[in-house]
Symmetry: C2
Subunit: 416 residues, 2 copies
């Protein structure tokens, strides 16, 4: 059991209506037990296409996981395709029907519709993994030595099925290789220059280690993956190789254990026992959300404010009206006063403020779309920054700016 | 030019490190000019795999768009695969090199590294579309009557290349069918029951109209897509069919023009001239971010606060300490007082508050993970809600709850 292929079924993704987040989740979970995803097929909900793709998938991998195409509505044909492909019949599975009835009862729906009953029909040869958070069951089929699992497409049904049932099943059934990964975050060097600096190091990596470059905003993440049978040896190998990077780019490394920037920040603030608050205009809450998305953030994040209307910046954060009048609301000076007011309002060691034009419409004061000023205030030291990102769409802009600010704060904390 | 196939190249997505957002963007843009994405292949950065997939893709579609595998680092093999597949040579393209030099100069990097120069090498038969936001050019190749475009993988490079160059090129070069889509948002009916109610309507839809069910949280989006040569006829057809839904499920329809819930809310608030503010605890800024992600939200969104620490709820929002002591901070009573304080702080017609336990750790007061209380206050009427979503991960929880709250506010506004 080494290579997996994922098949995402349904027109929602092909039509651009939905972003496929399931594949990402499944790939990560499989990687952790040493199974690599070799390919992902995203296909439409047609019986022939599904069957052809199952063929292609079993050519490539030992394990095939399909998501989607199992809803109660008429555009779902996965089950029929599965039965055809495996030369099987679809039949009512009693335990699945019992599970379904209980599931519906719990939710106060006592009347079982014909459409719902249909969901308890599965290929007769399948092994069913019951879905605790939805009405479509997960079906496992055998294909010689190979296996397929067919899941519904709803992400919050997929996650527990994978995590609580399929991963444990695979771990118990097969003896799997151990895979371990470390991410080194480097800032302040473009990818191509970084690649030149660490070229010799990269070429001398042991055979069982693989390196990838993952640029995220202005940070480059170096991902080192090691595979083998002894977890301790792998961890030691990774640590040794990472230590060799320090003489080369040590000053630019902001983290070697955590991956997500909000987690890196969380660790640092925890270590240094510092508290944080935010005052956001153009990022509209994204910065606070990113910070609080880290579980445990309540230990250091005291609060945030989104004083969207200019008068609220003046009233609540005590930005002076004359500063607004003189420099406009999208200005370094306003950002600086916002950070000061924010620090006072929430009584924190650190405060961050943003003011800018997220677009697509121009700001009231005529500043260019994509302009943002932000201030990071640590105790009584304020540092002002400006970014200009005219090519990003509104949500991407809010996200990019928030990432960059957290990254800058991390850099300031690491180098102090 | 009717069917497109997308190929996403690179291990970042297969390894679960990156979510593929490019495919979603490209599919949407192509749909708008009447080109349907039939399949998406996500493959690793290996020359043979890329070549095989190009073969498979040209079997299915007239248009093949690849993203990824064009970076300056050593794990990128797309260009080599392209040259092989098209029986071509890779050669330095002078205009591309000139463009690259100017691009680097503008960013203050006067020295052109060998690695960067390599990016100006392209298959000799290709037509280059210059990349304004990165160093990897976009290459168009002809394959009989069919076309391929190869783009870098970075989303903010992909978006302008597609939008500003490839879409206009395709529109100018081919006479394309017109596709138009409407989304009807239905709340308060489970998908399977809705499907029963509208079954006859669905079966009687004209041939050139297609229906899909897209469940998002507790809302079901009905997507109607019409294709044909006369835009006016298509729009009229869609409007007629949508009107027929009103006698069936009219009370549950919250929107028939906008798709995104934050846009639906924006339209309603604009029409009714109402202002809005938010006070968030467990959603941590996600609610404000979702509201402000709608361009033009500054017209109705006055501000938000994330009083994460309990004492800030008391200090800033004037939640009474005795309410916290008696009912704990995660309670209906605290949510209600937060909404009241928020409305006063920002002086708005409507305020929304959230307090809950996002998990994975339990809240201080021992309330179950996944519990959230929220209040929607419209003028002097407060309505309290409770949700229990124990199976969602932290970020999904923040997102689901925010979606649901905006949806509830929309329902309240529609039915008043």
């Amino acid at each position: 059991m080494e290579n997996a292929v994922l098949i995402t079924i349904g027109d929602e993704i092909l039509s651009g209506n939905t972003i496929d987040t399931n594949s990402n989740f499944i790939a990560t979970e499989l990687k952790n037990i040493g199974i690599k995803v070799s390919q992902i097929f995203t296909i439409s909900d047609e019986i022939e296409t599904i069957k052809d793709t199952l063929h292609a998938a079993f050519e490539i991998g030992d394990l095939v996981i399909t998501t989607g195409g199992l809803g109660p509505t008429r555009d779902d044909k996965t089950k029929k395709a599965l039965a055809d492909f495996f030369n099987d019949e679809i039949a009512l599975d009693e335990p699945t029907f019992e599970h379904l009835k209980k599931y519906m009862e719990k939710r106060g729906r006592l009347e079982i519709l014909e459409r719902n009953r249909e969901q308890a029909f599965v290929p007769a040869k399948s092994t069913v993994f019951q879905n605790q958070y939805g009405t479509a069951p997960c079906m496992m089929m055998k294909y010689g030595d190979k296996l397929s699992f067919s899941l519904p497409g709803v992400p919050y049904e997929v996650k527990p099925l994978i995590k609580d049932q399929i991963i444990p099943y695979l771990k118990n059934t097969f003896s799997l290789q151990y895979i371990t990964t470390r991410i080194v975050s480097v800032v302040g060097i473009p990818e191509s220059i970084l690649a030149d600096i660490i070229e010799d190091w990269e070429l001398s990596l042991p055979e069982n280690l693989a390196l990838s470059y993952l640029p995220v905003g202005t940070r480059v993440k170096l991902r080192l993956t090691a595979s083998g049978h002894d977890e301790n040896i792998l961890n030691r190998q990774l640590e040794e190789e990472i230590q060799k990077l320090f003489p080369l780019v040590g000053e630019n490394i902001i983290a070697t254990t955590e991956d997500k920037i909000e987690k890196i920040l969380g660790e640092l603030l925890g270590e240094k026992k510092l508290t944080l608050s935010t005052a956001e205009s153009c990022t509209g809450g994204e910065l606070a959300k990113m910070i609080t998305s880290n579980s445990g953030s309540s230990k250091y994040f005291i609060g945030g404010i989104v004083p969207y209307a200019t008068e609220k910046k003046v009233e609540i954060l005590k930005v002076s009206q004359s500063t607004v009048d003189e420099f406009t609301v999208v200005s370094e000076q306003v950002a600086e006063e916002m950070a000061k007011g924010c620090q006072r309002l929430f009584d924190t060691d650190i405060s961050i403020s943003t003011t800018g034009v997220a677009g697509p419409g121009k700001g009231e004061d005529g500043k260019d779309v994509g302009t943002v000023f932000y201030t990071i205030r640590i105790h009584d030291q304020a540092q002002n920054f400006k970014l200009y990102m005219p090519h990003l769409e509104r949500l991407d802009f809010m996200n990019f700016v928030s990432q960059k600010i957290i990254q800058d704060l991390v850099s300031l904390l690491v180098n102090n």
